[in-house]
Symmetry: D3
Subunit: 314 residues, 6 copies
């Protein structure tokens, strides 16, 4: 069986299918053009150079193309590189699908859908329930495909829904410790808080920031969408105001992108649960790739810390 | 003629009409109730105590009532206080009007209206022009009455329109130095940037923060209003996106309340012009009350600095 | 029935038993000595002045004495004050007990003990289990009486154990979301993290900081105690090192008092759960005293924010 | 006609004259020496390598020499590089002049001189006028040649005078909005504020920091020069003190290099106008090189932001 | 013998001579004027009220007058206050002198003079020596009378010279550990670094900030004086540049008022020795007033810390 | 005689013995393995590549091996590199010793031992003296071999003892200026403050951080050791508490790794003396390698400053 690219070792040969994550042209010191390709499967990615690239190559080997490649794993400035010996684009008969080359949430989409349906069912406040239903319907497709971010945490297919569902579970559990929590508000805040990412990011595969994303950001995008939804649904209670506040304040403070700090218990909790799930996701995925008794790579979004995996963990 | 309350001196008698800015009840150590009144005219305000206040007093002397008062200026913990000898509410025959007791912009409302009309007339981009017209019409009354803030700068009747018109003048002048400026964008940004204050604040007289103001803030309120206006007017060009960005970014950075820092030349300029006009307003009004060769009171919003007035100024 | 001191209103008479929280002597402008007493029951506290206090008064009305007092609620500088008409120390026949005048955790001590016993029973790692047992035994009395802090959060009798038990419950719930968590480490970290407070604070009633607390702090005190326990129990595995790290890092970063930031998943989680429970405790107790549609007092330890209670909450 | 070096594209041949901005020697892995040259004309610069450089080459191709070069534009690590095929130093018969290879202010020197003369003429305060005249005379040559900085803003020939003149224009315009401004003080502050750069920097071509610049900085250098000028001119009024304060405080605060924050209205304004002109210069020059619908390179001195050029700009 | 005002206790009578540190007029609630006096001797100060003050009192009891007073120590808001029973200005026959009422350095002026003379004698670099001699001569009187600051450290008569001499001793000792130190530079930097205070402060008795002090600060004042001295003495070596740098950088960084951070070994050392002597002076003087086993008052300039005096200290 | 590696120049041949500081394997673009060696003697280090390394080479040329090497100094990306022509491991007959290749303190070990012995002899407090003796005995070997840090300051053999002895000398000198200093406490604090480094670092040669060092840090390690020592020695006075505080607080504040800021005069002084000696060590060693009239390399741990060496220094 073929080895995944995230687990090859320097010196080994490689043969298999890979997705082109990005392709950029350069001109070598001998004056000949070459392509720098980042190739990926669901386990990770690797850099490769295609020397003396023809004009045809340039048109063939573009972003989001799947290729068949034979080569060897070498090392360049301390990082593995794939030395290409042979490559070709895939053909229909190869039977490979884009989604097989993307990292995915560890939970199936239909499970995530079920969890959301159930939560909406549990809501008691009809205004809040109608607003949440409106958005689930509006984004029924993207919501279950988009990542939660371009990098750092939950940056994989279905990452957004995975993030939301884990947060919903934590919220439900916290209600048992702190009975005063208004679960309708908290559930709705969790489901809506990051929906602006569906417009801030370009798509589920090789996502980047859109112009709207750069100029407005997902927080303001979603606050606006919520206002329009409430108008359309003809809902005007205090709930709408509170949900807007929760979206605006979920990053916790100005330095982190929120125009208002939380001044509602459920807004503060939304921020804290978001914080926990993002950090657990980053730590867990780093620790998975780390051997007992060793340290993870530095995690930039966690103050560049490197975490220790105890010798008695597996 | 009667002296204004902002210019009385300790030891002098006082007789005249004053507006109650706030009234709060206390109980003295002898167990009797009393009222603490903040009394103002257009020149400033002063504290006064109404000892042994009856239930009737309490109902008569409330916020925004105008009274006739006779007394003497004393001093309490280093600050002047009005010792009340006689007081009564005004009668129709007194012929006094609320607006005479409020600080006002040094420019008349109709001049401010004319300036705005002229700027809109100069605009070339029809989308931008229609959006601005929409808001001028929507808020034709409040826009010319509201202050620009509860405190710090332009905190007087018509303060918002005064702030906007000065900024428009500066923008026009800067265009002569930097020809690349898109004046339509900059003008529109200036006119719209603080309109959210019309909902963030409670009104032109004795303004305070509304619930919406505390939970959302004027920046997000206005971004949402702009989205609704564009939808209503059926305008969907890049201009709308850019104007939203200008509103969101006009405080310059996250710590100062903007969810996005400016990444458009005209957004950066809007922020800088806003900064200059706010600071000039604070400095000028403080220096007016200061004698040559002395220092102003500390200005909290300018890092608590105290400014020097040269001996050769008048 | 007698009203509690936390719920009296200005103008009302008061008669009942109160505990002296602090007593300090002053000399009035007439040259006579007086006592400033802070008087409390389990619902809150109030200031009172005992004018013209005799030397005998001074020896009678000292900290932690319970008194019977008759008086009236007046107001001084915006805060309620108890005007004393009559007072005397309690007699055995009054049948009052110190503990009735102290705020207490909303959970009974035996419930807290049971929860801890059960958690220790669930532990699988024998080294960790033995260490935890050692401390539960060592502090079997204080652990269930001390507050978790002098002020801010869980600052009431049994506050420390209440804080620990809520955190344990949250930890157990989070394990269901994140299966990789080492629950033995996390449980132990939660139980041990604040035990240094038993030496940092002077006691469960009117607690203050000890000299040791001021010079070393509860974090270093506990790290040292853990080292001694491990030596005594003859345990020397990696678990001891990790538990020490968890104690040292539980404040999250240097500015907040931790000499090391967390670099172990369970240490990071310990910090986050501590953060959540402290914040929920502060918000909930402030919101309880707030009417729907109003804002709480400012909470100093939460960046001085004031939280909103929605109109639809009870 | 020859293409300018700032506008060539990878893959194109190049032939023309270029100025050596810097030259440094290295030794290649084959043990042979080579030269790294940064070559510029008034449109930009490019790196080039002269392999197997002889001792004579080293003495010929030095900083500020103009050369004739033939070659090809290649790419090295994502940046264009000039592959040298032929090169020689210029000869008198080539008819090229140093100034043709330097970036220059978009305004002619005599226009800048006229503007300054006119401003001095408008001054009413004789002390201030004499001091300004003194410095214009003292530095009549350098003032119109030096850049305003080594990098970031106005870093071109005549940049300092260009910066000063634009600021003077803005000051004059602001006076119309804020009549209280003392224009003599403000004009003088603008003209003098950066004159210390004439000693802080090494010269108008390829400027670097002098030893005096590194140890004292242009702010303290100029404060000292002003003191000496006042002494020489026998002027001792408050104006001298205020002008010194304006120079010392024009960076706005300690973190930005000013030993005193502005506590004079005109000092604060000087700082704000300086801020605006520096930022406009950086944004405008970056946007000029950017196509509509795209973002500029990151501007380090503006918090590393990248600015958007609207699609409807030219 | 008379007790000193810094050591009286509440309830005691007081009779003696005191210096008026400041006098300010108020109007009491009964409409009568009164004077608030701060009275001091060399041990400390105390507040006193002179009720129903006549116009004559106001002219008699002014700042820097010495009075004879009889009264009693009472307490007002937790601080001691002197209740005046009798007071009169001193007469020639009282035989009291201003200097007896001021706190003084613990070392005699002639000792300080000798120490400085000796250090100058040890200098080997003639340029540095001449500059230092110039300033010692120029300020031969003030240098030995002024305090080193208005508050915080060495804020007593001869405080500046005391600070300088202690620093010189430390410098000499450090040379034994670090032989590379250039002692001439370091000695000169120490002697000159704070001389700007002679113009920044108003005088040795009840010092306050001068206008020049507020607008320029002692660092820039002294840098300018040094430039003028060098010109007058016709000295132009690198030594002058380095001494200027040492003066400019002695506060260590921008936030602390230095326009340049130290980039010369002796400049860095000057900063560090200044830091040590200031902190030792603050701690020692606070600890002197503290009993063993107790904590000092909070020291504002040391991050508001309160220091512990061990039980085994005397 | 052979030149030391810290003083070779590009283009020169090299022949001599060097110690392998680190060795790491790579794979070249031709697929062949190579070794990157960092080679050092007591004067500095240099990088070298061993191309086409065999499996035997890999086992032979490992960290802490001494080799004989012939080659030439070339330059790679602006840094010198040793081009290996011949190399072999040393033989017994070469007569070279590991210690000759390590940087060492400029003072001999026996001098450092004597200094410590003498200081202990001077101590008057028996508890403090016994504790210090205990640790000198416990670490009699490591204490005189370990560096004070992995990098930055005193990062050489015997660096820790050198650092301690210089600090002791400074402490003794400061006592002459500030007689109130408790020299026993200060001496003990200096000797003990960094002993935790003996467990935080892996050893005197090529030191790195241990797991214990990363998880606990030398401050907490030493606080724990001190507690155990006191228990073993049966000492329980306030001295132990104060010494623990001094160890915990010697980094000065939370951001710098101390869980408590100093609140004892001797703790503050310990911090300041540590600060001075670390900074002097960094500056002096950088300036030694710098020519008069030039600047040192940037010193990262001193805010990245580069220091000037006056032209009149040698």
């Amino acid at each position: 069986m073929l080895k995944e690219i995230g687990f090859v070792e320097v010196g080994q040969p490689f043969e298999g299918f890979l997705l082109i994550k990005s392709a950029s042209k350069g001109v070598a010191s001998n004056g000949k053009p070459f392509l720098t390709l980042i190739l990926q499967d669901s386990s990770g990615d690797i850099e490769a150079k295609l020397w003396e690239a023809t004009a045809e190559d340039e048109q063939t080997f573009t972003q989001e193309t799947i290729i068949k490649v034979t080569g060897e794993i070498t090392q360049f400035r301390g990082k593995p590189q794939l030395k290409i010996q042979k490559l070709r684009p895939t053909q229909p008969t190869d039977g490979v699908k884009l989604e097989d080359f993307l990292e995915k949430a560890p939970v199936e989409i239909n499970e995530l859908e079920e969890r959301l349906t159930q939560v909406i069912f549990e809501m008691e406040n009809p205004n809040i329930q109608r607003i949440v239903r409106y958005f689930i319907k509006k984004y029924e497709k993207e919501l279950f495909l988009f990542p939660a971010a371009v990098k750092n945490h939950h940056e994989y297919v279905s990452g957004l829904a995975h993030h939301v569902c884990t947060m919903l579970n934590i919220a439900k559990d916290l209600k048992r410790q702190y009975d005063d929590i208004n679960l309708d508000l908290l559930y709705a805040g969790i489901i809506l808080h990051d929906l602006g990412k569906l417009k801030e990011l370009s798509g589920p595969v090789t996502p980047s920031y859109t112009l709207e994303g750069k100029l407005l950001g997902h927080i303001s995008i979603m606050a606006e969408e919520l206002a329009q939804a409430a108008q359309e649904l003809n809902i005007d209670g205090e709930e709408v105001l509170l949900l807007k506040h929760m979206i605006l304040s979920h990053h916790g403070k100005g330095e982190w992108g929120s125009p208002k700090a939380p001044i509602l218990r459920e807004a503060e909790l939304l921020h804290l649960i978001d914080f926990i799930d993002a950090r657990m996701n980053m730590m867990n995925r780093s620790l998975e790739k780390t051997k007992p008794g060793e340290f993870t790579d530095r995690i930039f979004a966690m103050d560049n810390r490197s975490f220790y995996k105890p010798t008695f963990e597996k």
